[in-house]
């Protein structure tokens, strides 16, 4: 193994391992602050520049809070229940973190230093990224189950079982909505997917892309155990779910893993639907794409925080019903719609397409604007009607009621 290869691998991976945990720290602050404001509180505002009294005037809106939390976590006692499976109890948080960190490699973020490294390293990072992404994110389920089982706590076990059922169910709509994008690009390569959306050709602006994005986002919430799908850690029901018995740094690792997974899945959503690093000014200044990518990730995370501040959580059977009876049929229908739309757009040209180029863009070049408009409206209509129908089917009796009054 040549030194250059090692250097290139380090150049490719170490920044990811530094940037995202830093962003994690920032996100915890952001989430606490935003939730506090949503709830009309102030949120963390004390910890600022160290060694000034009480943060003094240098409290910097409490930006030092994540640091203080980290130190606190490090020094807290590590409690392992007596009957716990010690090995698995130790391994679970690590296993929760590794896949989340690993999939960050597949995000097509154009860091300026990436251009100088070997092609083989780049290829490992990018080729077939989408399928690898799903393969590795799925490992998170195991970590959750491991934690739930190893803790020897009934709440943990319930949380673990819930997590498995939930993650396995929601992975299907997640993958099926990503398939839409793969169909429109004709590649599994993340960089190619991002490049296909350069300018303003984001897939979210197509009807099936929009539907797929919404399905993807909902499923991503479930995959990362975010509200309203935070059943595995439902506080009001099963204490803290699978990490009930975790304290100190192991808990911090779970926390870190959860947030990194949030970044990863938001990054994938950005790659698939929101144009990757595309944005104003990227053509002139290529490094702006990194900024745009992170900005879009944070926009998605802001929505996640907003949802968390608003919504109660679903019940376990409603959660499964929602995945199987609503999201799954809708995403399959969406694939049909996207396929037929592509076919209608292509007409007779389907065989003559260049496989190395994004399919949708090639089709759009020679398409009749009227056909396109008709397709757009028709697809939206079908999807909306289908969604409404599925909704009516699955929860027909749920509606506000009238009440009587006695004088």
């Amino acid at each position: 193994m040549s030194l250059e290869l090692i250097r290139d691998i380090l150049v490719a991976t170490v920044p990811l391992l530094l940037i995202f945990p830093t962003l994690f720290a920032f996100t915890t602050w952001l989430e606490r602050k935003a939730l506090a404001r949503i709830q009309n509180r102030i949120g963390p505002n004390k910890v600022g520049v160290p060694l000034t009294r009480y943060g003094g005037r240098f409290s910097l809106f409490g930006l030092g809070q994540p640091m203080a939390d980290g130190i606190k976590m490090l020094f807290k006692e590590n409690i392992v229940p007596r009957d716990a499976d010690r090995l698995f109890h130790l391994l679970a948080p690590i296993l929760a973190l590794i896949p989340a960190m690993l999939v960050l490699c597949f995000l097509p973020i154009d860091f300026p230093w990436i251009n100088n490294i070997q092609d083989s390293v780049k290829a490992f990072m990018l080729d077939g990224a989408v399928i690898f992404f799903f393969a590795i994110t799925g490992l998170n389920t195991l970590a959750v189950f491991m934690a739930g089982w190893a803790s020897r706590n009934k709440y943990s076990l319930l949380g673990g079982m819930r997590a498995i059922a939930q993650m396995v169910s929601y992975e299907i709509p997640l993958v099926l909505s990503a398939v839409i994008v793969v169909m429109m690009v004709g590649s599994l390569n993340a960089a190619e997917i991002a490049n296909a959306q350069a300018g303003w050709n984001w897939f979210i602006f197509t009807p099936w892309g929009l539907a797929a994005f919404i399905i993807f986002f909902i499923a991503a919430l479930a995959e990362t155990n975010r509200s309203p799908f935070d059943l595995p850690e439902a506080e009001s029901e099963i204490i803290a779910g699978y990490f009930t018995e975790y304290s100190g740094f192991k808990f911090a690792l779970f926390f870190l893993g959860e947030y990194i997974a949030m970044f990863a899945i938001s990054g994938l959503a950005v790659t698939l639907f929101l144009g990757g690093g595309a944005g104003p000014g990227v053509a002139a200044l290529p490094w702006l794409s990194v900024i745009w990518f992170l900005v879009k990730i944070f926009a998605l995370i802001a929505v996640m925080i907003w949802l968390r501040g608003t919504l109660p959580r679903l019940r376990v059977d409603q959660l499964m019903g929602f995945a199987w009876k609503f999201l799954l049929p809708l995403s399959i229908l969406n694939i049909f719609i996207a396929g037929s739309a592509l076919h209608l757009l292509a007409g007779g040209r389907l065989a003559g397409l260049d496989e190395k180029q994004p399919i949708l863009r090639q089709l759009m070049e020679g398409a009749n604007p009227l056909v396109v408009a008709g397709l757009w409206i028709g697809a939206l209509l079908i999807l909306y009607v289908a969604a409404n129908g599925l909704n009516q089917l699955s929860r027909a009796k749920v509606r506000p009621r009238e009440y009587k009054y006695a004088e």
Binding site: A34, R37, I38, Q39, N40, R41, I42, N45, K46, R53, Y54, G55, G56, R57, S59, G62, W306, L307, G309, T310, L311, Y384, A387, N388, N391, Q392, R399
Partner: protein, 236 residues
């Protein structure tokens, strides 16, 4: 069902309104940010709340007329034990619901502020770790000797002795009472003066009546002893 997920969007609009509103409207963000304040500007005790420009100021951050914490004993003049109002009648000790008052009556009488020889509490202890600030002792006291203090900075590292307030800790002057509860104190003083005047008038009338008709003295006595049956005997 008007719109798919419409209720969720409505709720999100509410939270967004609160999020944005917390930056602009004081009735949304009701808490005050002290973080930048030097520690000597922080509120030290109730009633000394430092007002700052643009801060939410609730009425409860100052001592209100009826705010109460733990009882205190009133004395009228400068030397506490010479002018103490309490005559160790022990009604409060009997009536205290959590039974946190302990009184020992003095063996000999001593002149109080009114110049009348009275018993005084040789010991008057209140265990404030038990006291629940219910104000029953204040209400049953016939001498207006015990009232509620609003001082709340009572924390102590001494778990047992520190929370047992002795007589000398409890003694506070009437001026202090006027300071913390001006309206209540004024009303109480007014009532005491009125009662005193009424009593003197009654006494005068009784004396005159006695002078006029010596045979009706017994009747006048009976009149003077009217009122609330239980308290009255102690009050006289």
């Amino acid at each position: 069902m008007s719109l798919l997920g419409g209720g969720i969007f409505k709720g999100m609009a509410v939270t967004l309104r609160n999020f944005v509103g917390s930056y602009f409207y004081k009735d949304r963000l009701t808490t005050n940010d002290y973080s930048w304040r030097p520690s000597d500007k922080l509120p030290q005790h109730a009633g000394e709340y430092p007002k700052e420009e643009g801060e939410q100021l609730r009425d409860t951050t100052t001592v209100t007329n009826y705010s109460r914490n733990f009882p205190m004993l009133l004395h009228d003049g400068s030397e506490p034990m010479d002018t103490i109002r309490c005559v160790a009648c022990q009604i409060c000790e009997r009536e205290c619901p959590p039974q946190c008052i302990y009184i020992e009556k003095s063996t000999e009488k001593k002149e109080n502020a009114g110049g009348k020889p009275q018993f005084y509490p040789a010991k008057f202890d209140i265990d404030v770790s038990v006291c629940m600030s219910c104000q029953i002792c204040v209400e049953v006291c016939p001498f207006d000797a015990i009232v509620m203090n609003s001082q709340f900075e009572l924390s102590t590292p001494d778990r047992f002795g520190g929370l047992l307030l002795r007589r000398d800790d409890l003694l506070k002057s009437n001026d202090y009472y006027h300071n913390i509860h001006p309206e209540e104190a004024a009303a109480r003083d007014k009532r005491i003066a009125e009662e005193k005047a009424a009593k003197e008038a009654k006494k005068k009338a009784a004396a005159e009546a006695a002078r006029k008709k010596a045979e009706e003295k017994a009747k006048a006595d009976a009149e003077a002893s009217e009122g609330t049956p239980d308290i009255q005997e102690d009050a006289e």
